[in-house]
Chain length 281, copies 2
Amino acid sequence: MKIVRTIKQLRRLIQTAKQRGKTIGFVPTMGALHKGHVLLMRRCRKENDLAVVSIFVNPKQFGPKEDFKHYPRNKQKDISLAKRENVDIIFYPSVDEIYPSRYCSYIDVGHLTKGLCGKFRPGHFRGVATVVGKLLNIVTPGTLYLGQKDAQQCVIIQQMIRDLNWDTKVKIIPTVREADGLAMSSRNQYLTDRQRQEAPVLYQSLRLAKQHISEGKRQAKTICAMIRRFVQGKTSGAIQYIECVDAQTLTPLRVLKGSVLIALAVWFGETRLIDNIRIDV
Amino acid sequence: MKIVRTIKQLRRLIQTAKQRGKTIGFVPTMGALHKGHVLLMRRCRKENDLAVVSIFVNPKQFGPKEDFKHYPRNKQKDISLAKRENVDIIFYPSVDEIYPSRYCSYIDVGHLTKGLCGKFRPGHFRGVATVVGKLLNIVTPGTLYLGQKDAQQCVIIQQMIRDLNWDTKVKIIPTVREADGLAMSSRNQYLTDRQRQEAPVLYQSLRLAKQHISEGKRQAKTICAMIRRFVQGKTSGAIQYIECVDAQTLTPLRVLKGSVLIALAVWFGETRLIDNIRIDV
């Protein structure tokens, strides 16, 4: 496994691989790798000749009051984990390598970035889209692997790739969960023991919603209220949002129909957790 | 010469060329080709194995009150002109091919788009950057050819390519002029005879500015005032702006120093003409 710190060096390796007709798979991450990332790497490894993983804590996707400085970084553990998954290249650039002086270009994926998490994290998805656009140009992958846990991010990146015509397929990999249902996230390690015990409530509430829908409930308001009551009854977590939206367009739904995404964000102290499920109604 | 209307078909041709190790040069245009475009095509033809020209009047770079509907279109003449220059592929997509339904992604090149023409054409350079980004992803050229007449556009596209890491070189080709100095432009054909006679004043004023600078004048204010007086004294044209800026950063200058861009825009009736010169001070 090669650990590459510069764009120039990475481009050389990619070019050589392409000249030999190799297919390239790519998993962009912010490091602090967990089992969710492992699944992405495995799929990438299995389906491509060259498996590239980037580790870059992207400052442009953190708000001024968010956890950029304290976001977990664990280079050695990440590297050994990627090695174990037979990744070919880790791209591990510095912030200056990605955002040199006089940097000023951004990609904006319009209304898709305004709702759900975007409403509470202005500029977040602009930062995400921009860094992924850059990485697509650097890595030029045939296939990009993303995790369903970041549902809005998945929709935005797919739309961006379609709109701006990158020649890259996107594969969305299901959320990996702890035994008690908590979605894997690098931020879970921020949780106190008490918070960790309460955190599975996100997924429990989503499963309950699914059950209600399977029993015939169709009003988004009713479903959201039910989730709210459930989360509030069981935890100290402060709900940021609960929404039922169209899974493709992210348009808020009044009546659940078609491919539905139910997503929520809950604060546990200083830690913000998100989760979601997709349901075909 | 192949005339290609779909992205899919173009990608296939490009891929085949790349597999054979061919280099790709690209000239993006809005058609209504003139001698300025011819020079871009010649350089592109000479320096690359595959010469690709796009003809697309990009609605996203026109304001609601601008001349999108009336912008000159002359498919047959453009095609025969490109043929004569031995272009390999003309990409001639429909608006729906470039902007399908639910399109919502845009590229913004920050402060570079705010001054000069950008001040009077809000959204124009966002439209330009977006369509060029898309075309870069579709054509994947090794070299992109742009004309110096659109000086701000050149700076913006270069910055965008650097920032977002497209692996494409940019070559800026000098402005081609009529015998009397008027910069070639598809919009020149809008001019009445009277306006056409007056239009060379733009370049005359820039040359006069250059002379003043060579004689030691360094105050931007003085130079701009001189250009203003000259244009107003000689024509019925209404000056939109005259500016002296840093040629790389487009920052307005008080004192001329380093690589300087002097640019202006003048309305002749309904027709807006622009011109510029670069001077090393």
